[in-house]
Assembly symmetry: C2
Homo-oligomer: 464 residues x 2
């Protein structure tokens, strides 16, 4: 391990230069004008993997290619096998005029490398590549086999990933997936993201009169569907932020003491959080902190409202219909289909007979949880601590990461989310950057991770 | 009077032909391509008034001209003076493919004349012109002076009418205004519309976070302004249809026994009314009939809702803001500014500190009421009974007719609304028509009206 770490340290300058080369590709997956750049980027990455010593191929898909690089030519079935997931595609850089330096001309200022894709996600998976390089180049035997799966469509929905996993499920059969594509709460505060919220989307359409009616001639003698919709929606939540749909919380796994302690460790300042939101006052389910509310508690959000006249001035109608788009954020062990059903049942029950309610169900995603006390999670925490020199945080994220569910569904394995991005890294925004200390820390984490993880999944130890 | 009525009867066929001529003009005030037609129509009408024997001028305005025709050259100050208001402009005929016959090629089928503008409003004021013609052509002395004011912009907001009234307020000083531009409850069921609802428009804008937020990352820790808006709106009304704004009903004049009896006389079938609305079930303030609810009771209607994402599928955001457009329909003696103020106060009081509420006030119109027991109203009722041979109805209409308030404000006089349109006349819709029996009845009403009205306003009798 010492050789590995020394190699990492002594080659830092070269690594930063290589990352800068990688960041020069405008691999914007969403913009057809960049499809050649996306391809060139994949080829550069594949070539780099080969130089490192990985067996590499560029796999064509119906969309952008996937770069697959392995530490083995033929798998040694006695060793555990891990996947490292990443994506070489980036968000569009627009609006360009808000960038202080051009998005595809990487520049280092105050220990930060500025470029589109720096932290999301090129810099993060590049740290893993460099860690593996240091094993290979120092001749240090890896205690496991590793396959890098670096796709080119994460920013446009990863549509080709699941078919790819399915086509290659036996070659990709593994013990766990490692993903560095999330964040850490602050510099020098490494973190394992052990839970994600799921989602259930619904659309409510309330039909009133057959067509918009003159509110002078008919108003008062017919239910206004916009009002009926508001009354329905207002009944979903109480003033303390508690969802009133019967059964909604039934499967919610309560936060453990350990988890709440972890939440309370997170750096948090109410005034700056409120300023960040720009809201007049913070609000959320009572009995929980803001961080708990936004990552460990389920919600029902109205994402959109539409009814009647929306232009300038006024139009005196009783609208024919009113619509609301809703999404519920779900936490373990809530199930999207069940929550959608409970919501539908409740809405149908409370809907007055004066309007007709149509509820249609949208997409759903399961919430995700890896026990922070599992052997794999503990191994990751050890690696984080060794790499960053401080007690890692255990965090939950409020959003969904669909690929995590794809790995679980297709390969039946858990993902360890070991994010290296800082809160001020401007992901998806102008002036995206990656902190070089996070880059170097990420490499060290990568170096420490493989012995820890290999040990954690060893059959002799965990009885598998 | 006998001579007058005989003249009306024996000239019916000619009158229908003249009305058909009048209806041929596509005097669509809203469409610039028809501005020449609007002008030609005004000139035709003015010429027709002159042929009848009226002193006539076409008054230019900043918009379409107003035709002014009087029974006098110099006013006889000993006689009462009445205005007859009408409008020669019409609604756009579109969609043209839904018309069974072309909108500006009048056609008579089953005693109905079909054309755009037939009942709204050419046919209705033409009946008044014919009634006055029968006085003038038979040499029967009129017991009053009459001024016809027929404008060309009613369908686009009558913006030039009030300045015109102001400029000519002394020439137009009068005892009352007669307007046939409303409806009757059914064939052979004449009616005096003695009350109209007023209006107060408001816009509510609820600000939440400074910008749309990711509902995964922040949802749960910040108030959703769309939800806050729904909660506010849901508190405006209870499940029995009663408005919950304190003071809202304070000035509402209760319906008298006479009025409720009049309401109960109106032909009404709940099943067909519901079918007309197309609503799953009737709904309104409990304790009142549908007709009372829609014309004699105040309301708060949501005319439009806007928030967040409105396109296909879903967008997982906490929207930055949510907006509702509201209008209150007001009844005597509610005051638009006061109601708007009460509503604002209530909303501000119940608005939580987690969002910022901005209420902006839109247009307002006073409700209108002529006592059905006033001398002028009784005179009109007599005329209606004589003309149609049945007991007239006293009705309230739920909409506003802004010109009525203009006449009151500028000239200080009441308007008698003696509508001749039937519920199935397709006003503002394809296949607009006017029932010829209503046309003939309207002429007879016009003939009977002047002696009755002149008598009603005579100083010696009513002590003025």
């Amino acid at each position: 391990m010492k050789k590995v770490l020394t190699y990492l340290k002594s080659n830092q300058t070269r690594f930063v230069g290589e990352l800068a080369e990688y960041l020069k590709f405008p691999s914007v997956s969403a913009q057809p004008k960049h499809s050649k750049d996306v391809k060139s980027c994949a080829n550069w990455l594949a070539n780099h993997c080969r130089v490192i010593g990985l067996k590499t191929k560029v796999v064509s898909t119906a969309g952008h290619p996937i770069v697959v690089a392995t530490t083995f030519v033929k798998r040694n079935s006695k060793l555990p096998h891990f996947l490292v997931y990443g994506h070489y595609d980036v968000q569009p850089p627009e609006p360009l005029d808000l960038w202080k330096t051009p998005p595809f001309q990487p520049r280092i200022v105050d220990g930060q490398i500025y470029a589109r894709g720096a932290s999301d996600n090129k810099g993060q998976h590049f740290a893993h590549l460099k860690a593996v390089e240091s094993y290979l180049k120092t001749g240090t035997p890896l205690p496991c086999e590793i396959t890098f799966v670096i796709e080119g469509e994460e920013e446009v929905g990863s549509e080709q990933l699941e078919p790819f996993l399915e086509r290659n499920s036996s070659a990709l059969a593994c013990d766990a997936v490692v993903i560095s594509d999330t964040g850490m709460p602050g510099k020098g505060r490494p973190a394992l993201t052990y839970a994600l919220r799921g989602i259930a989307a619904l659309e409510l359409l309330v039909h009133g009169p057959a067509k918009d009616l003159h509110s002078g001639i008919y108003g008062g003698s017919v239910e206004n569907p916009a009002m009926a919709l508001c009354v329905l929606l207002a009944k979903l939540r109480d003033a303390r932020g508690r969802i009133l749909v019967p059964g909604f919380y039934d499967r919610v796994v309560l936060l453990s003491r350990l988890e709440r302690r972890q939440f309370s460790r997170l750096p948090f300042d109410a005034a700056s959080f409120q300023k960040l939101l720009g809201s007049p006052k913070l609000f959320g389910e009572s009995g929980f902190t803001s961080n708990e509310q936004r990552s460990a508690r389920p919600t029902i959000e109205i994402n959109g409202l539409t009814s009647g006249y929306q232009g300038e001035g006024s139009k005196t109608i009783v609208p024919a219909w009113a619509r609301a788009k809703l999404t519920c954020r779900l936490v373990p062990d809530q199930r999207p289909a069940e929550i959608a059903k409970l919501l539908k049942q409740f809405l149908r029950k409370i809907c007055p007979p004066t309007v007709r309610l149509v509820v249609s169900q949208g997409h759903g995603a399961e919430p995700y949880l890896v026990s922070p006390e599992s052997r794999a999670a503990r191994a990751a925490l050890h690696a984080l601590k060794s790499a960053f020199g401080s007690e890692p945080y255990l965090i939950r994220e409020g959003g969904s990461i669909p690929i995590v569910n794809q790995f679980k569904r297709v390969l039946g394995v858990e993902s360890l989310l070991l994010g290296l991005a800082l809160p001020d890294d401007n992901l998806h925004s102008p002036n995206e950057k990656f902190d070089l200390d996070c880059f170097f820390g990420g490499m060290r984490m990568g170096a420490h991770l493989w012995p820890e993880l290999a040990e954690a999944v060893r059959p002799s130890v965990n009885g598998r």
